[in-house]
């Protein structure tokens, strides 16, 4: 059980800085998910931890020991690749045993570990098969098995579920979560899928353009994103953003304006500088009412998407601002209707013009 500590990690490809001074601590036993849009440097960061990319600056420490110059195989990490990367000419058994054999592990130990990993992953019947005779899900199990038998200090996953179809992906996601609970080892997991990130992670690290935008527990990031990037990256459908204007109001209370509607700024907000701000509200935090009654704004519904357990109302408010509302109450709302919408103070997120969230005391 070990900590992984990244301090100021930097990676350059030619003139491009792919990773720019990343500081991150993954605590022992933690499941840390690196998430971000493609090209954000998440895979590069993982590969630097694995030792597949050289570290241009900063320090990587695993278990308190500097790892920058240590060979990949000696870092005590195992990696599961998106493409599985099994050895095509070896049986499942030999695929899993290969690393141990190279480390000159005793044959009985190898056999014992391979069989126990195979039992855990329910691939005991497949040990004599070759990768090409396996389905995608089975291949991924073998790849995970190959990582397990080496008994690494840290598991690295590079988008391991991206090549699987949707239902299998959900199933494997659960299995990875269970496996992590059982083994209790440290894991670093890269994905671009925010659902995977939210469901698997103890800690999510949102990366953008080679830097950490925010790191923390999934719900913290969801509820209190530090900035617009994190707010829009997490959550599906995306958070609604409405441009607003803050003006010094009558008396002590500043007000802010969305289109024609005027809100008094809840006292819990630290008073922002006057001027343009962005109001963020998640689709499930919007109340739907009759127009006029207890409504902050009136929305014209353009399209209703039926999800089964809820409906997604796509609409426009004043000045053509589009909005998505997740509506779970199953009232009859059809395209063309006008509904009133409202939101509570604690669900509102305000961002200043640089995209930083204005603190909000709950």
């Amino acid at each position: 059980m070990v900590d992984v500590v990244l301090s100021g990690l930097t990676k350059r490809f030619g003139d491009v800085e792919a990773v720019r001074g990343v500081d991150l601590t993954v605590r022992s036993g933690e499941f840390c998910v690196l998430v971000g849009p493609s090209g954000c440097g998440k895979s590069t960061l993982l590969r630097m931890i694995a030792g597949l990319e050289e570290i241009d600056g900063g320090e990587l420490a695993i278990d308190g020991r500097r790892m920058n110059e240590v060979r990949p195989a000696d870092r005590g990490v195992s990696m599961v690749f998106q493409s599985y990367a099994l050895y095509p000419h070896m049986t499942v058994y030999r695929n899993m045993a290969f690393g141990l054999k190279l480390a000159r592990t005793a044959a009985e130990t190898i056999d014992e570990r391979v069989r126990s990993a195979a039992r855990t992953l329910q691939i005991e019947d497949l040990l004599d098969r070759r990768p090409r005779e396996l389905s995608g899900g089975q291949r991924q199990r073998v790849a995970i098995g190959r990582a397990i038998v080496r008994q690494p200090k840290v598991f690295l996953f590079d988008e391991p579920l991206s090549n699987l179809d949707a239902s299998l992906r959900v199933q494997m996601r659960l299995e990875i979560a269970r496996l992590h609970r059982r083994l209790g080892s440290t894991a670093i997991y890269v994905t671009h899928d925010q659902t995977e990130a939210m469901t698997l992670a103890d800690k999510i690290v949102v990366l953008n353009q080679g830097t950490v935008e925010q790191a923390g527990a999934p719900l913290d990031l969801y509820r209190r994103p530090d900035n617009l990037f994190v707010a829009t990256f997490l959550g599906s459908p995306r958070i609604n953003l409405l441009p607003a204007r803050v003006e010094p109001g009558q008396g002590a209370m500043p007000t802010f304006h969305v289109g024609d509607a005027v809100f008094s700024l809840p006292a819990s907000f630290a008073p922002p500088a006057d001027g343009e701000v962005m109001l963020g509200v998640r689709p499930e935090h919007i109340r739907v009412t009759h127009p006029g009654t207890d409504a902050d704004l009136t929305m014209r519904v353009d399209l209703v998407e039926e999800l089964g357990e809820a409906q997604l109302l796509h609409g426009t408010v004043a000045e053509g601002q589009s909005l998505i509302v997740r509506y779970a109450e199953r009232a009859d709302v059809a395209a063309g209707d006008e509904v009133g919408i409202g939101f509570s103070d604690e669900d509102m997120l305000l961002f200043d013009k640089d995209g930083r969230r204005i603190p909000h005391e709950l």
Binding site: A50, G51, L52, R71, P72, A73, D74, V77, S78, M79, F81, Q82, S83, Y84, A85, L86, Y87, P88, H89, F98, G99, L102, A103, R146, R150
Partner: protein, 274 residues
């Protein structure tokens, strides 16, 4: 119309096959003749006369020449594959300055006509003390076989999935283990194809073999055949020459038949990703 096209196609195939196979067939027919009948044109053998076949083994060390050829060719194939594989590993998988230039330099070696390098090669072979020695032939043949071996294997090794290599690195494989235990098992088609081509080149090579050997005991088959002498200096023993030619063709045909499937796989590999 369709019928016509089928007939046309069949005729074309027949013509090509005839063009390819007739010389060999005629060699077989001729190899069974002796004396003046050599100069009569026959398209079917009159009688099965194997005197020529016996004679080439009886009158000269033809068995030894065949053994020489086999030794040289096998050594050339083994060395070409070994050097080709290790070079391909570096050229296809590792990043270093001047890699492209090196690849083109290797290719350009095969552009010179054989005669152009003959005298230089002769000096080289003598300098390392391999004149009139099979080792000299092996050394000189590598300049024909290495360029294409390196190129084909480099192209092939480049197409192998990067993830598999990285998985092996994480499993603790160094470059040598990577090459022998991970890449090589995936490269049999390419190795069989290039190996076979190298074998054919070494087996049929004439000019270097003639220049770098002195005594009949060191000669390889192509030279030995060319130097088969008749009863008098005015007689060219066509019967024996043809018999010898037929004998040395057989191993190549057998090799190609044995590895046929793998060759096809190797020639198309790299074009389409498996």
């Amino acid at each position: 119309m369709r019928r016509l096209r089928q007939i046309g196609f069949a005729a074309l195939v027949a013509a090509i096959l005839f063009y390819l196979l007739f010389p060999l067939y005629y060699a077989i027919v001729t190899s069974m003749k002796a004396g003046p009948s050599l100069f009569e044109v026959d398209y079917v053998p009159r009688h099965l006369d194997l005197d020529n076949y016996v004679a080439i083994f009886a009158e000269q060390p033809f068995a030894l020449n065949i053994a020489n050829s086999i030794m040289v060719s096998v050594a050339v194939v083994a060395l070409s594959l070994f050097l080709g594989l290790t070079a391909a590993m570096a050229l296809g998988r590792m990043r270093f300055a001047g890699r492209r230039h090196l690849l083109f330099a290797i290719l350009s070696v095969s552009m010179f006509p054989q005669v152009a390098v003959l005298s230089g090669m002769f000096e080289l072979v003598r300098a390392v003390g391999l004149y009139n020695n099979l080792g000299g032939l092996v050394l000189s043949y590598l300049i024909f076989t290495l360029p294409f071996t390196v190129w084909v294997l480099t192209a092939f090794i480049r197409d192998l999935p990067r993830d598999v290599e990285e998985a092996a690195i994480l499993d603790g494989a160094g470059p040598w283990t990577l090459l022998t235990q991970v890449f090589m098992p995936l490269m049999w088609p390419a190795m069989v194809t290039t190996g076979l081509l190298a074998f054919i080149v070494a087996w049929n090579e004439f000019l270097f073999a003639l220049t770098f050997t002195l005594t009949n005991e060191q000669r390889t088959v192509p030279v030995a055949i060319a130097l088969i002498t008749g009863g008098s200096e005015f007689e060219v023993p066509w019967g024996r020459i043809m018999a010898a030619s037929v004998i040395v063709t057989v191993p190549l045909i057998v090799l190609v038949l044995v590895f046929q499937r793998r060759i096809v796989a190797g020639l198309t590999a790299g074009a389409v990703k498996g």
